[in-house]
Amino acid sequence: MFFLRVWVSASKQAVSRGVSVESVLTGCTRAASGTATDKEPLRKAKTPQGRFDVPEGKNKDVLEKFPDDVNPATKEKGGPRGPEPTRYGDWERRGRCVDF
C-alpha cells in the first residue's frame, strides 16, 4: 500500500510534468490486486541455444523401446531394450560386453 501511495504521489508529479502514467498505475493496481488478469500473455524468456542442447527430434536412442515395454518375441515385460543381450554368449549392450 505504501508503494502504491508513493507511486500515486510520483504520478501526480509526473502528471504535472505531462507524462502519461496510466499504464504504470494500472500495472500497480494489477500487482496490488494479486491476480494476473492479463490482456497480453506473459512472454517466455528467450535463452540462447546452448552448445550441448540437442534440437528436438534428433535425440533418438539407437535402442528403441518396445511397445508397452513388452518384447514381442519373448513376451518379456520390462526387459532390456533392443536385440537380446545374451545372443553372443555374453551380455552385449551397444557393442560393449558387460561383466557381472
Binding site: 535402442l63 518379456e76 515385460k77 520390462g78 545374451t86 553372443y88 555374453d90 552385449e92 557393442g95 560386453c97
Partner: protein
C-alpha cells in the same frame, strides 16, 4: 569427552611448535557400535541392513557413496533356480557352479549359495527390485553361459533374472533405499585404514575421514569386510579407479592370509585405455584381430576356429603377439580389432550402438579405423578366506580356525564359491547371499548391546604413523609413476600368458617396485580432502595384492580355470580324473594342486609366504545334495 579434550590440547601444542614438528597430531574420535561394515556395495549394504534389521547398532564405513560402488556396473543378471521358464532344481545349479569352479570351489559354500538363491531373489523382489516379467507375471529368466539342466545332461537352463539392462544399478538402489528404513549409521567418504586387532581378535576398524582429516576408531564386536576386488593392479581392467583391494590389504597387514589371489578373470577384447569390454559378438559377426603387420594372427593360433576360438585361446594369442613385438601403438602393447571391412548397415543392425561406443571410449570411427584392444581384467575370484557362514578363517595346525570378530562377503571374500573360474551371473548372487549370511551368523552368535572387549588406548597408532609418513613423503617417485610401473609389470607378467620364466621375472620386478614405495613423493600436505594421500594409501593396498597375486601364480604349477600356464598345461589333481580311478594311487597333499593357496605378506619387506589349504569337498547335507566328485571339465 576425554579424547576431545586431549585432542584440543594436542592441537594447541601443534600450533605452538609446528615449525619444528615433522609429524602433526590428528584429532581422534572414538565410536562404539555392535557391528561395523566396511564397504557399501551390494554385499556391504545387504550385510549392513541385515544387521540393523536384527537390532544391532551398525555403522557402515565406506569411501564412496553407496550408490557409487562398483556393483552399479554389473548390468547383467542374477542366477537362481526359480524354475519359471522350465522345471529347475537348485541342485543342478550347484553342479554347474562346482564344475565351473574347476573343482576348486568349496562345495559346502556352493551348496549354501545355490540353495539360498531362489529365496534371495524373491527377497530382493519383495524389497522392490523391478525384475523383468513373463506374461504370467513370474520373473523372466534367460539362458546364460555355463548353466545346464539335469547335471549337465538336460540342455541349457534358463536361470538368469535381470532388471532390463541395469540389474546391478537397480540392486544397489533397492538395497540402499531399504537400508534407510533401519537406523544404520553411514560414514560416507571415510577411508578405512586398518583393522584393530588384539590377541588375534578383530575389535574394530580405524578410518580416515576424508572430509576433514580426522581419524575415527570404530570399536565393534563384529567387523564385516565388503570392500570389493582389486582390478586396478593391472594396466587394463574394467573396474572403477576405486577397486583397490583395501579389504584384502587390511587383512594382510593384520597377519592373516588371502586366498587364491592368482585366479583373475580376463576378457580378450577390452578397449585400450578405457577398459570397457567389446562384446564377442563383434568377432562373431566377422570382426578380426590384427597385429602391427596387418596380419590376421588368429589363423596361426587356431586354424579352424580363428577369431571365434574360446576366450582364453584368444587372450593368450593376443598376449603372445604383443610379447613378440607385433603389438600396435606407440608402446606396442595392444592389438587392433578390425570391423571396417564389414558393411556398415550390417554393423548397425546386428550391433546397434557400437559406433557410438567406439567413438566415445576409443575415439575411433568404427567404419574406418580399427579399435585398439587388449586382454582386460574384470573379476578377482580370490580374496579373504571365509567359511560358508561368512566368518574369516585362518589355517593353523592343519585345520580351519575362525578369526573371532571378523567376517567378509562379496568380491572381497573367497568363500570359495567361484573357485578357479567364476560363472557369469553368479557374482551378484554371491553378494546378496553372503551379505545376508554374515548378518545371520552375527545375529545367531551375538546379541545387540553386548559389552565390548577392552581395547588398548594406543590401538591404531601404526596406521596413523603410516598416514603421517605418507602425507609428508618427499622421495623421488610420484604415486602415479609407481602405480603405472606396477600396473604395466602385472599386465606384462601376470596376465593371461603365464609361464615359469615370465612369472619369475615378474616376481623379481614386483619385488623391486615394492621397494620403490620407500621413495614415494606426495605433493598435497593438507588434511582436508587430500586425494594424493588417499591414492597413496590405495597404492600401498594395491601393492600388497599385486605381490601376492604374482607370487601365488608363479608357485602354482598347473593350469586350472582362469590360471593357465604354458609350461604346465594340465590340471594336477590327487587322481588323474581323465582315466578310471580304480588302480590309481592318491597323490599326497603336497604333490597335487587341488588346494587353495593362502598367501601372507610381511608389509615391511614385501616378502610373500605361501601355505596351502585343502578344498572342502563335502556339501552341507550329503543326503539332500550329494557332493560332485571331481572330473575333467569340458563343455
Amino acid at each position: 569427552m576425554a579424547s576431545v579434550r586431549a585432542a584440543s590440547r594436542l592441537l594447541s601444542r601443534r600450533t605452538i611448535s609446528h615449525v619444528k614438528a615433522i609429524s602433526t597430531q590428528y584429532p581422534v574420535v572414538d565410536h562404539e557400535f555392535d557391528a561395523v561394515v566396511v564397504g557399501a556395495g551390494g554385499a556391504g549394504l545387504r550385510a549392513a541392513f541385515g544387521l540393523s534389521e536384527a537390532g544391532f547398532n551398525t555403522a557402515c564405513v565406506t569411501k564412496l557413496f553407496p550408490t557409487r560402488s562398483h556393483t552399479v556396473a554389473a548390468q547383467g543378471g542374477i542366477n537362481a533356480a526359480l524354475g519359471n521358464m522350465e522345471d529347475d532344481d537348485w541342485r543342478w545349479h550347484f553342479y554347474d557352479t562346482v564344475k565351473g569352479s574347476d573343482w576348486l570351489g568349496d562345495q559346502d559354500a556352493i551348496h549354501y549359495m545355490t540353495e539360498q538363491a531362489p529365496a534371495a531373489v524373491v527377497e530382493l523382489e519383495n524389497f522392490g527390485m523391478p525384475f523383468s516379467r513373463t506374461e504370467d507375471g513370474k520373473i523372466y529368466q534367460r539362458a546364460f553361459g555355463g548353466q545346464s539342466l539335469k547335471y549337465g545332461k538336460g540342455g541349457q537352463a534358463h536361470r538368469c533374472c535381470c532388471v532390463a539392462d541395469r540389474t546391478g544399478h537397480s540392486l544397489l538402489h533397492t538395497l540402499y533405499g531399504r537400508s534407510l528404513r533401519y537406523d544404520t549409521s553411514y560414514f560416507v567418504e571415510y577411508f578405512a585404514l586398518d583393522l584393530l586387532m588384539e590377541d588375534g581378535q578383530c575389535k574394530g576398524v580405524i578410518a580416515l575421514c576424508m572430509e576433514d582429516g580426522s581419524i575415527h576408531r570404530f570399536r565393534a564386536q563384529n567387523t564385516v569386510i565388503a570392500t570389493g576386488g582389486y582390478g586396478r593392479t593391472y594396466f587394463s581392467c574394467t573396474s572403477a579407479h576405486t577397486s583397490t583391494g583395501d579389504g584384502n590389504a587390511m587383512v594382510t597387514r593384520a597377519g592373516l592370509p588371502c586366498q587364491d589371489l592368482e585366479f583373475v578373470q580376463f576378457h580378450p577384447t577390452g578397449i585400450y585405455g578405457a577398459g570397457c569390454l567389446i562384446t564377442e559378438g563383434c568377432r562373431g559377426e566377422g570382426g578380426i584381430l590384427i597385429n602391427s603387420e596387418g596380419e590376421r594372427f588368429m589363423e596361426r593360433y587356431a586354424p579352424n576356429a580363428k577369431d571365434l576360438a574360446s576366450r582364453d585361446v584368444v587372450s593368450r594369442s593376443m598376449t603372445i603377439e604383443i610379447r613378440e613385438g607385433r603389438g600396435v601403438g606407440p608402446e606396442k602393447d595392444h592389438v587392433y580389432l578390425q570391423l571396417h571391412h564389414l558393411p556398415p548397415q550390417q554393423l548397425a543392425t546386428r550391433l546397434p550402438g557400437i559406433s557410438e561406443t567406439a567413438m566415445i571410449f576409443a575415439g575411433v570411427d568404427v567404419t574406418k579405423e580399427p579399435i585398439p584392444v587388449l586382454p582386460t581384467v574384470h573379476y578377482n575370484m580370490g580374496g579373504i578366506p571365509t567359511n560358508y557362514k561368512g566368518q574369516v578363517i585362518d589355517y593353523t595346525d592343519g585345520k580351519d580356525t575362525v578369526v573371532p570378530g571378523l567376517y567378509a562377503c562379496g568380491e572381497a571374500a573367497c568363500a570359495s564359491v567361484h573357485g578357479a573360474n567364476r560363472l557369469g551371473a553368479n557374482s551378484l548372487l554371491d553378494l546378496v547371499v553372503f551379505g545376508r549370511a554374515c548378518a545371520l551368523t552375527i545375529a545367531n552368535e551375538h546379541k545387540p548391546g553386548e559389552k565390548l572387549s577392552p581395547l588398548k588406548p594406543s590401538a591404531g597408532e601404526e596406521s596413523v604413523a603410516n598416514l603421517d609418513k605418507l602425507r609428508f613423503a618427499n622421495g623421488s617417485l610420484r604415486t602415479s609413476e609407481i602405480r603405472l610401473n606396477m600396473q604395466k609389470t602385472m599386465q606384462n607378467h601376470a596376465a593371461v600368458f603365464r609361464t615359469g620364466s615370465v612369472l619369475k621375472e615378474g616376481c623379481d620386478k614386483m619385488d623391486d617396485i615394492y621397494q620403490t614405495m620407500e621413495q614415494i613423493k606426495t605433493f598435497d600436505r593438507g588434511i582436508v580432502w587430500n586425494t594424493d594421500l588417499v591414492e597413496s594409501l590405495e597404492l600401498q593396498n594395491l601393492m600388497l595384492n599385486a605381490v601376492q597375486t604374482i607370487n601365488s601364480a608363479e608357485q602354482r604349477k598347473e593350469s586350472r580355470g582362469a590360471h593357465a600356464r604354458e609350461d604346465f598345461r594340465d590340471r594336477v589333481d590327487e587322481f588323474d580324473y581323465s582315466k578310471p580311478l580304480q588302480g590309481q594311487e592318491k597323490k599326497p597333499f603336497d604333490q597335487h594342486w587341488r588346494k587353495h593357496t593362502l598367501s601372507y605378506v610381511d608389509p615391511k619387506t614385501g616378502k610373500v609366504t605361501l601355505k596351502y589349504r585343502p578344498v572342502i569337498d563335502t556339501s552341507l547335507d550329503e543326503q539332500d545334495c550329494a557332493h560332485v566328485p571331481p572330473a575333467i571339465r569340458s563343455y
